[in-house]
Symmetry: C2
Subunit: 268 residues, 2 copies
């Protein structure tokens, strides 16, 4: 039984990394409208404390809720570690930890799973705990990669320096013979080519956008979420809490071939 609901889906992230998730969702669900909030004034969340990350995340959720969204996707891995709830005052919430963990286990051949993330995401052990909750026989090896976000934002995504740094961070995980690797930060898909060059073709890469698209599709089918059946052009609006020419330029690069209808700066 399919419900109809033409309200937009809210997506938030600490910055522009979550646009990799927005792109995946917007391309996969071409009739759905999206409101994206990038908290660029306060980014990065990855180096902040659990308390602060939770506080900022709740402010972002309240902001999107006031704009009458039908669900909220927490695209930021770091924020997802602090907001595990499946709904917020009746509004469906999606974090990236559960979908990413589920997908990693489903594609893994030997349950030897690597996790990359920001320092905060790795310290939280959110992926490790979720993976072990879903499969107690899984073996999980994690690694914080604090330089990946600035490398992605610098646009050095196909650069020898990035290859060296990727190799530095991954060498220990490779020694543990992982067969699957969770890219546990929304910026990391931007570096996917460099990462794949180091991991080779035998290690499955799992990114948050693909993983969460599966969950949304399941919830559309099961009726937890209504689909938009609007005959009009759907809207993709990008809001940030700070403006910067560099961000807009990066955003356009990440979103390609998706085109946003509007960019604007908002105050939370």
């Amino acid at each position: 039984m399919t419900k109809q609901d033409s309200r937009p889906i809210g997506v938030f992230d600490s910055g522009i990394g979550g646009l990799t998730v927005l792109k995946e969702l917007a391309l996969q669900f071409p009739k759905e409208s999206f409101l994206y909030l990038g908290d660029t004034a306060r980014l990065p969340y990855g180096s902040k404390s659990a308390h602060t990350i939770r506080k900022y995340s709740e402010q972002n959720i309240h902001f999107l809720k006031r704009l009458n969204v039908k669900a909220i996707v927490i695209a930021c891995n770091t924020a997802s570690t602090q907001v595990p709830e499946a709904d917020f005052e009746g509004l469906p919430l999606y974090n990236v930890i559960s979908p990413g963990s589920e997908r990693a286990l489903s594609v893994s051949s030997g349950k030897r799973i690597g996790v990359l993330g920001t320092r905060a995401t790795i310290n939280s052990k959110a992926y490790t705990n979720k993976l072990l909750e879903l499969d107690k026989d899984a073996q999980v090896f994690d690694q914080a990669c604090p330089l990946f976000v600035p490398l992605a934002e610098e646009g050095w995504d196909s650069d020898p320096v990035t290859n060296i740094i990727v190799f530095r961070y991954l060498s220990q995980l490779l020694q543990h013979s992982i067969d699957t690797l969770i890219l546990g930060c929304t910026h990391y898909p931007i570096l996917k080519n460099s990462i794949a060059r180091v991991t080779g073709s035998t290690i499955e890469l799992v990114d948050s956008g693909e993983a969460i698209a599966h969950w949304l599709e399941r919830d559309f089918i099961q009726g937890r979420l209504g689909r938009s059946d609007s005959k009009e052009h759907r809207h993709v609006q990008i809001m940030t809490t700070d403006s910067s020419a560099h961000f807009t330029e990066m955003a356009l690069r990440i979103l390609k071939p998706l085109k946003a209808d509007e960019f604007k700066v908002v105050d939370l």
Copy 2:
């Protein structure tokens, strides 16, 4: 004529980079007390807009003013670009742009000056404008180095990868035959060894801590600022707007051999 004033000197930065300035000042002025505020919850400032940087800086100044400091040093280069005033409601303010520019010109042999900084600092052209205001014959070449802060925070300050990245950012400035290089971000002195390895011994490096210490000494002598003549042990207190074990560990490393009397988390 020397005034006496045992109130502490306030120092603020977007994070822990300004501790390189605090250390320089605290070692040079062993009788002065210092209150350091690192706005770690909202760092980095370097990628934010001018409007947001100014707003956050004013909040930091108000906070330190309420704690009854006798002067405020804006250790953050990015914040300094947005707060050029020499006083704030009667309280002496020191930014790092003027002292750094003055010092660069005084040590430069041929007035060919390079400036390194965050994207926001370089975009602001604050150093270029100040250098040309002080000496219209100076030639200024600048370069944003967005990876330096995360490299310093990762602790890779003596690492081959850092050498490669330093060389990448500096190669254009070296082609312009600079004779002096302003380290226009308080984190950069942490990478001084790597930077010096690329620049060689013929290029003078100017860092904010040394430059601002000269200005404070001058103002102590001229009586704009009163010296502390307290017979008691002076206090060095470090406040941050967010807590994190990684920051405390980094802070202790940067401050060595200086010891802080207190670390605490505050809400602005």
